[in-house]
Amino acid sequence: MLNPNIGTSRRTVIRSLASASMLLPGLLHELMASEASDPLAPKSPMFPAKAKRVIFLYMSGGVSQVDTFDPKPKLTADHHKRYKKDFLHASPWGFKKYGQAGTEVTDLFPHIGSMMDDICLIRSMHNDIPNHEQAIMQVHGGSAVQPRPSIGSWVSYGLGTMSKDLPSYVVLAPEVPYAGGAAWDSNFLPAFHQGVRVIPGQEAIPNMTRAGYADIQNMDLGLINFFNKRHLEQHDADRTLATRIKTFETAYGMQREAPEVFDISKESDATLNMYGVDRNTKKGIGWMCLVARRLAERGVRFVEVIDGGYDKYTNWDAHLNIRMHEPLARKSDLPVAGLIKDLKSRGMLEDTVVVWTSEFGRKPGDGSPDEEGRTHWSTAYSSWVAGGGFKGGMVYGSTDEYGYTVASNPVHIHDFQATLLNQMGLDHTKLTFRHTGRDFRLTDVSGRVIKELVS
């Protein structure tokens, strides 16, 4: 599924580097040959894949299902009534019908609502522990108990990268989420599958900005190659040594490509408007969504966008007052909808999976009638997926009349992960890595592909 142009242009680049004395011609052969040993070289999926890449929009802190994608008229009607040990709390927002199926979506998300025909909504998500740290670990790594490799690392491990000049797994995160870097950690998978965290507004990839003058850096690289080539000749053209030589060439490409990827100033007005950003924007959810598209376009396998972080006043962790969802929703509604629209207009939605999820939902009621916030709730929540073979316009699963429990078609986080990997052409039971004497996988010992979700 590799874009043939990428390979070609790569070779062109190597040749041009050679002519610019960046690389010595004698090395070319070895460099080309050692591509096979590149652990991030693109790999074929296990079976024909529907999607080539993932954009994972992670709303940090826990988005309330009953205030966003899972309307509960009875909850509104029974506001402040007792239910079990709780007092029910109505959503402060109304819902409107969208799309051909007339799917009801909160007034917080009119733009996302307008894309419902492209969105496959799951109202019956559940995972195991309603605590941020554990739930974030589980949504990303499958296990709520131990830090494990993140889903992005697994995809990188399974498929490699289609971009020679960019990492396989990029995380756009202005702040770290509650679980810290565990969210994108490669854990026991080789370290190069770890998410490379980009802090919007700062140097995107560590050390990607050239320090010093371009001509002198070229001379430096020429000198390094001179030393390395001699060394290689004296050491039987060892593959490991050749591989490291090649990393400098890739790094050089990265240094050249990366600043351009993160610079949105050359996008058209129409595109910028789709995301609600202007030409000089360098951070924010709009910038992140647009850059996610730019990264995906250039072959990055897995892009994660993290909205919010560990600060409960600026993430979705609305304990204090559920109305704190409103400013966040207002910021992300247009860019998230814009991302789908943009991917669609470029013909990329077909083979790109866009995931929108949180680590869990929020509880529809509370022990106190005066409570204005909502607490964590992992027994039932909503997530959605668009593109990559997922059925647009579909609503899968349901919750009870108040949104407390799953009423039909439960989708455990492992099922969700299994289905996502399936669309990438990876069998979640076969994507394994041997560690401490056993084969580990993202979905631990469970998970099943929910075939109803995909066409």
Binding site: P206, N207, R210, A251, G309, Y310, G373
Partner: protein, 919 residues
């Protein structure tokens, strides 16, 4: 236990009774003729029709109908019967299907004759004329109402007489299906209390009640869950194929026959066969192969050469002296040799020069910094606690320094084990010794603080198994180990020892200060000012706990209470030195956590050690937690694994690959030893030499095998591409510490003054919690000391360690990665640190105002440990001139274009492969 046993014929009877019977309809004469006693008439009907849900353990809707009393008591919907009035009785309404809401049994209406029996009984007053509980089998005559007599249940019946066909069906279809799909969870310990590995267990059911009603697939919970349409869906990874479900239905319909000779399930005992695995037997002193060869330097070589000959491999030539000194120096100290050290070694042609060098390096302080770090990898050392607030542990470094000191002192390894596990319980000759023994238990204290107490106790057991024994004990937390003979009981036998130990608390949401740290002066707690301080703290703590127990948010109150606590800490008296260490607590055995869930407690597991390694319960006269006994058991020469595991780690540190290439796993899933005789020899040698690690290093380094070159050999590579049998020396990339330490050392920036405590904020400002972690981005406390002394944060890896495969901070690391990535190249191209080192070295080398050629030569000697060749000299000088010209053209070079060019030249040497790899 009584079961209703019927065959598939019964069902047809049910469904034949299609007509709606009303109470007014005359009852069938048969029923009228017979006295409607509860025991003789009613009970069999209930047994036949209500089993699974209300009888034989079921209590759906809160209703049990096993006994007369229970029926009269009723269930969640109230009384079941109104004596004398069937029309008003819930039971009758339900079976008549006359109630809109409640139709019972849900799968279909029961036979009219049976309905008649119930109605008549209720109409006659619903009396009990027999014993309250039915214990005898219903009479054949009664059973014949609905089913052939032979198919009716009997009390405590054994498995029904199964036919040969049925047995075959069970063995070929059912047992394999259970084994494949269910046994991962439903054996020992049973998930949800349910075991599926014997008929008795299957019939007993689990916490959700009975799962199989023999003869009744339609009311067997097992079938419902397999069909994936209820609340419980099994197996969790996805539904079975339809014909598998059909097979289970058929098996239940046949009465769930289970052949008598069925093998028993995995037990908590370890069998002799399981003990047969090589690593569970104590090593005996192997016979040294009798080889006469000039190649052999010591006994290690005899084992290596014997293996090479067996595999038809020929060792390559020896490494030259320069390669050797660089290799040995990096191996023992983690630092490159200085040009002066290289010169001394090259100039010394005395017989014992190589051994002299080894002795010098083993005696250097840098040795402990190198090898201590390797141990810190194994015990997943960190300076913060890894809980949701990631609290700093300002005292953690004491344990780190203890480890480094222990290696430098060549502390016998058995002693090192005892101190770390039970230092507080060991006798001591002096106060400093007592204190260092207490600090040593920082090993236990520093368990990862995620997931509460069960979380860190389990982490302790996991790490203990990996670090000292090379057994993946952690696998037995939720179920018996799948591959090695470690039953769950053994896991909780160890767990109980740590549950009987008091761990310090570095801070949690509800108490954001240190609790339970060990005072150096044990008398502190009796001092007045200590008591006063505690008395002031206590009400704040109580109030905090009370507020946090309230429903809803507590954002207004907690900050006020924290402010008071922080204010109190600002004026906290000095209680002297403390350590992050453990002490004994009340001894108690732990109960097994079923499926690893601390809320699901199973049987008590008496404290003890792993059976497969010859352990058993603690001696009866054990007084404390059992930690001292555990330490002695591990640190014993009779423990089959302790010595093997540590010698393998040492071997790996010198050859890049362990004799067992999975150093934390010597079990059946680990790699087999490439040379077991050699491993056992080294283990024997270690114990024989008084557990001296330094003697072991020396013996290894003096072997010929260690001194081979890294040259390739096509013939050997075909046979042994991994170099498992040591036909050459493996080339290795510098690890993250070696890279940074070398940059600092080569550029003379390395700070060799003793490390101090990290500059953490004082406890009086700690207000950390999940939403306000200590430092969500790695705190920058970097110094120019060796990398082992850098602060390690548990929840966030530093960017540098991510880049160069640093240790996993949450789990034991037995082997570092050695990845080669473009991001690493970017580091050498653009990061400030290599530039800073190059700048410093350039200023030193150029300050001597020597000829340029000499400066280049000095740079080669410093960074590569060798002089440059003519070609390299020419190329380097050419580079220096072009780069200096370019800097001059750009016109912005401080201090001078020439010096800037020299910096770039040094940076290129640092970035090159010769710097990065050890041959």
């Amino acid at each position: 236990m009584t079961f209703a046993m019927r065959s598939r014929f019964t069902r047809s009877v049910h469904f034949a009774a299609g007509a709606v019977a009303l109470w007014t309809v005359a009852l069938p004469s048969r029923a009228q003729d017979t006295p409607s006693t509860y025991e003789e008439r009613v009970r069999p009907v209930l047994l036949r029709n209500c089993s699974g849900c209300h009888v034989s353990g079921g209590h759906a809707g809160g209703l049990k109908m096993d006994t007369y009393a229970e029926i009269r008591k009723g269930g969640g919907r109230g009384p079941t019967v109104v004596p004398g009035d069937p029309a008003a009785s819930l039971l009758s309404k339900a079976i008549h299907y006359g109630d809109d809401v409640l139709k019972m049994p849900p799968r279909g209406k029961i036979a009219d004759a049976d309905i008649a029996v119930i109605d008549k009984w209720i109409a006659e007053g619903a009396v009990a004329t027999g014993p309250a509980t039915v214990t005898s089998a219903p009479k054949a005559e009664e059973a014949a109402v609905a089913a052939p007599a032979a198919e009716v249940a009997a009390k405590m019946e054994p498995a029904p007489q199964s036919t040969a066909d049925q047995e075959k069906f069970f063995e070929t279809r059912i047992r394999p299906l259970f084994a494949k799909n269910c046994y991962a969870c439903h054996t020992s310990p049973p998930s949800a209390g349910l075991r599926l590995d014997s008929r008795e267990a299957v019939m007993k059911g689990g916490k959700d009640g009975a799962v199989v009603v023999p003869g009744h697939p339609e009311s067997s919970l097992l079938v419902t869950v397999l069909k994936y349409n209820g609340k419980i869906q099994m197996p969790p990874r996805g539904p079975l194929e339809n014909d598998d479900v059909a097979a289970v239905e058929q098996w239940i319909r046949d009465g769930a026959p289970w052949p008598k000779n069925a093998p028993v399930s995995p037990t908590s005992r370890v069998t002799p066969e399981q003990r047969g695995f090589w690593s569970f037997h104590a090593p005996s002193r192997p016979v040294v192969p009798d080889l006469k060869s000039a190649w052999v330097s010591n006994d290690i070589d005899r084992f290596v050469l014997a293996k090479l000959q067996e595999k038809h491999l020929k060792p390559v030539a020896d490494a030259d002296k320069r390669t050797l000194i660089r290799r040995v120096t990096y191996d023992l100290t983690g630092l490159p040799p200085t040009p002066a050290e290289i010169k001394d070694f090259l100039d010394d042609s005395s017989a014992g020069q190589y051994e002299k060098m080894i002795d010098r390096l083993l005696a250097s302080k840098a040795y402990g910094e190198r090898w201590g770090r390797k141990w810190l990898d194994v015990v997943r050392y960190a300076d913060t606690d890894g809980g949701s607030g990631d609290f700093p542990i300002p005292q953690a470094y004491k344990y780190r320094d203890y480890v480094i000191r222990s290696f430098n002192e060549d502390k016998p390894y058995d002693r090192f084990i005892r101190e770390q596990l039970a230092g507080d319980l060991l006798p001591s000759k002096s106060e400093p010794e007592r204190w260092q023994n207490i600090v040593a238990t920082g090993y236990l204290a520093s368990a990862v603080r995620a997931d509460g107490k069960p979380g860190y106790l389990s982490d302790t057991v996991d790490n203990l198994g990996s670090a000292f024994l090379g057994v993946t004990v952690g696998c037995a937390r939720c179920h018996d180990h799948k591959f090695d003979p470690v039953p769950t009981n053994d896991y909780y036998a160890l767990y109980g020892i740590f549950a009987s130990t008091r761990f310090p608390d570095s801070g949690v949401d509800g108490a954001r200060y240190q609790r339970g740290f060990v005072f150096r002066d044990p008398e502190v707690v009796n001092r007045e000012e200590y008591k006063t301080f505690q008395a002031q703290l206590k009400p704040i703590q109580r109030a905090t706990e009370a507020v946090m127990g309230l429903p809803g948010t507590y954002d207004d109150l907690v900050p006020q209470l924290q402010a008071r606590r922080m204010h109190l800490y600002e004026h906290k008296p000095d209680f002297g030195e403390t350590a992050y260490a453990v002490v004994d607590d009340t001894p108690q055995d732990a109960r097994v956590h079923r499926y690893g869930d601390p809320r699901e407690l199973g049987d008590e597991a008496p404290r003890g050690f792993l059976q497969v390694l010859g352990g058993g319960p603690l001696p009866a006269d054990t007084k404390g937690s059992g930690r001292l006994e555990l330490a002695n058991w591990i640190a014993s020469k009779d423990n089959p694994l302790t010595a093997r595991v540590i010698v393998n780690r040492i071997w790996q540190g010198h050859f890049a690959r362990g004799i067992v290439s999975t150093p934390n796993d010597f079990g059946s899933r680990g790699a087999a030893p490439s040379n077991q005789a050699l491993l056992d020899y080294l283990a024997w040698k270690l114990v024989d030499g008084g557990w001296s690690i330094k003697s072991l290093h020396k013996e290894i380094l003096l072997s010929h095998a260690y001194r081979l070159s890294s040259a390739g050999s096509a013939a050997n590579e075909d046979v042994d591409p991994e170099n498992a049998f040591i036909w050459r020396h493996s080339r290795v990339r510098l690890d993250s510490e070696q890279i940074r330490d070398s940059l600092l050392a080569d550029s003379q920036l390395l700070d060799r003054t003793p490390a101090k405590a990290h500059p953490f904020p004082p406890e009086s400002v700690w207000n950390y919690e999940q939403q306000n972690m200590f430092s969500p981005n790695h705190a920058d406390y970097e110094t120019d000391r060796r990398t082992v002394y850098q602060m390690v944060q548990r929840t966030v890896r530093s960017q540098y360690f991510t880049l160069f495969d640093g240790p996993n901070i949450n789990m034991s690391t037995d082997q570092r990665g050695a990845s080669l990535t473009p991001l690493q190249a970017l580091y050498f191209m653009n990061a400030p640190f290599p530039r800073r080192c190059a700048t410093n070295l350039a200023s030193i080398l150029t300050s001597k105002e020597a000829p340029e050629k000499d400066m280049v030569q000095q740079a080669f000697l410093t960074i590569y440990g060798r002089p440059s060749s003519q070609a390299e000299m020419d190329r380097s000088l050419g580079f220096l001139h072009s780069a200096a010209d370019s800097y001059a053209t750009h016109g912005a070079a401080e201090p001078s274009p020439k010096q800037k060019a020299f910096e770039d030249f040094l940076k290129a040497l640092f970035a090159s492969n010769e710097f990065m790899f050890i041959e």
